[in-house]
């Protein structure tokens, strides 16, 4: 509750800060302060300190899972701001507004992470989506940005329509939007409910960029300003997955036989298309876009397995994935040339950044002793614990091996190719934040319980 209200209010504060503060650094600091506040208040709420007492009628429940997830998201967002807030200046003039939108999105994310009513889910997703359409198109003179924005908007509203139809069916079958009542609704699983569930599956798959509903993702991530693409591909994607898993765990948990197969199929498809397509990319940004699709495939395992391991693992996955991707995107953002060749010789000019980026890439590839490995490990373990569809797990690891191909291409470019990676200017803060990111990635890879401990305590 703390986070929900503070994020909304801080969004408004940021709106006005654009008028009141002339210094961009002031705006930036304000945003950072807000985010710190968010994080602190959220952590306080985890330990029972709630600032606002609002009657929610059971539509939103801030349970431990939601709060924990929110903390991860806010922490990621904080790192994101440290690394990339300065780069937003490059996008356009509406500096304060971008922050406002980001806070609104965070507000939406708290909603989708803690919804107990389909109405809240719907609102939350829209609150996340609409600012994203805008952020995607915020580089107004850039045709790519325009195009991405339009595609995102059209496809996004299409999926919204699908989702609404699904909700309508569910409502028809059960007479309620509240998850508690939907689960309690008597009778066998009706065709109406299945149809609704399936449609919801489609639309959530769309939001989580799961194949074959992923088409928007590469184009949008590629077209959007890099700073925002990074935000979308990490924090927002994580939120979609949390919503996804909440939906299918809370509402349709009893109907597992009806959807588990589809989760498996979608997982396989996502892994395949995401990884295979990424192989041939020449632009690092687009490669990362596809990699985010591929990573979604691994996250899908938690949906497929849907057991304790899966949920726990998804949290770790989200943290690991967000950290690493934010780091890489932040570095990418500093580059003038987004192709792989643009990174040639990067290790020579920026050894620290190159090393940190490498650690992030290793994490994405799932190399042990990085957070990425343990999160993948969780996913695989969850999937294997279902004791069926083992082909899926084997397929996934084969695809993980394929993923090594494109992640390591970047490492190769940085370290082993002679090149003229342009001198880039980075602040010490940026450098140190990258080091912290890399350290966190490794720390989580060795002692994941540092993170997961909070989930249980």
């Amino acid at each position: 509750m703390n986070a929900l209200i503070i994020s909304a209010v801080w969004g408004v504060v940021m709106m006005f800060s654009g008028i009141l503060l002339k210094q961009r650094s002031g705006i930036r600091n304000l945003a950072v302060a807000g985010l710190v506040l968010l994080l602190v208040s959220n952590i306080l709420e985890m330990s029972g300190t709630v600032f606002f007492k609002v009657e929610l009628k059971g539509m939103i429940v801030f349970d431990r899972f939601a709060l924990f997830f929110d903390s991860i998201i806010f922490a990621s967002a904080l790192i994101y701001l440290f690394l990339s807030a300065r780069d937003m200046e490059k996008v356009g003039v509406n500096y304060a507004e971008y922050f406002a939108l980001i806070f609104f999105i965070l507000c939406g994310i708290t909603l989708v992470a803690s919804f107990k009513s389909l109405l809240i889910l719907f609102l939350g997703i829209e609150i996340v989506s609409i600012p994203l359409y805008i952020l995607t198109g915020s580089e107004k003179k850039n045709l790519k940005s325009n195009e991405a924005s339009l595609k995102y908007l059209l496809l996004g509203s299409f999926s919204t329509a699908i989702m609404l139809m699904g909700i309508a069916f569910v409502y028809g079958a059960t007479g309620s939007f509240m998850s508690a009542e939907i689960i309690a609704s008597p009778g066998t699983v009706s065709a109406l409910l299945i149809a609704g569930m399936t449609l919801l599956l489609f639309s959530m798959a769309f939001k989580a960029s799961v194949v074959p509903f992923h088409f928007w993702a590469p184009d949008v991530y590629d077209g959007a300003p890099t700073v925002f693409a990074s935000f979308m591909a990490t924090i927002v994607k994580a939120a979609s997955f949390i919503a996804f898993i909440r939906l299918f765990n809370d509402l349709f948990g009893d109907m597992k036989p009806e959807w588990q197969l589809w989760m498996a199929v979608l997982t396989a498809a996502t892994l395949f298309v995401g990884n295979i397509t990424a192989v041939f990319q020449q632009s690092v940004k687009r490669m990362l876009a596809y990699s985010s699709v591929a990573q979604a495939g691994f996250m899908m395992f938690s949906l497929y397995a849907m057991n304790t391991d899966a949920v726990e693992g998804l949290l770790l996955y989200v943290a690991a994935y967000s950290l690493a991707t934010i780091g890489i995107f932040a570095v990418l953002n500093k580059m003038s040339d987004y192709t792989f060749d643009g990174f040639n010789g990067f290790a020579k000019s920026q050894p620290v950044l190159a090393a940190s980026t490498t650690i992030c890439l290793l994490s994405l590839a799932g190399i042990p002793l990085t957070a990425g490995f343990l999160s993948k490990f969780y996913m695989l373990r969850a999937a294997i614990d279902t004791h069926k569809n083992l082909w899926l797990v084997i397929f996934a690891v084969v695809m993980a091996a394929v993923s090594v191909y494109y992640y390591f291409r970047l490492i190769q470019a940085m370290y082993f190719r002679e090149g003229n990676a342009h001198e880039i200017e980075v602040t010490p803060v940026f450098k140190w934040t990258m080091v912290v990111v890399a350290a966190l990635v490794i720390l989580l890879g060795i002692f994941p319980n540092l993170l997961l401990y909070w989930f249980y305590f």
């Binding site: 109405l119 719907f122 609102l123 829209e126 609409i130 359409y133 805008i134 198109g137 107004k140 003179k141 045709l143 790519k144 325009n146 195009e147 991405a148 924005s149 339009l150 595609k151 908007l153 059209l154 509203s157 299409f158 919204t160 329509a161 609404l164 139809m165 909700i167 309508a168 069916f169 409502y171 028809g172 007479g175 309620s176 939007f177 590469p218 184009d219 590629d222 077209g223």
Partner: protein
């Protein structure tokens, strides 16, 4: 009125919306088709709300009202979405003087 009628009617409208999305290249028309789809959903929700009301009115006088509230929220959201959407379309039109959704494909592969 059997609720099935409404289901089929909504589905038909929904399908027309989808067909429209599939065959129109004009971004604005595309958008309008999505509005059709949303309206189909609205209609269905209202029908369901009345169905549930009919079933449960004896125990709860306001049974089914949530469906209609939901429709209200859909309208709200649709309005917001349209405003943003049209802003984007206008912005795009300013740059390329076209609203063909397939005209722009710098982003592919």
């Amino acid at each position: 009125m059997p609720v099935n009628y409404y289901i089929f009617l909504s589905l038909a409208l929904f399908a027309i919306g989808i067909v429209g999305v599939l065959i129109r290249r004009n971004a604005i028309t595309f958008f309008m088709c999505i509005e059709i789809m949303l309206n189909a959903v609205n209609l269905l929700l209202v029908a369901f709300s009345k169905m549930h009301h009919a079933k449960q009115a004896a125990t709860l006088a306001t049974a089914g009202i949530d469906g209609q509230i939901f429709v209200f929220f859909i309208m709200v959201v649709a309005a917001a979405e349209v405003s943003v959407g049209l802003a984007i379309i206008v912005m795009l039109f300013r740059n390329v003087h076209s609203v063909n959704v397939n005209f722009l494909n710098r982003l592919k592969h």
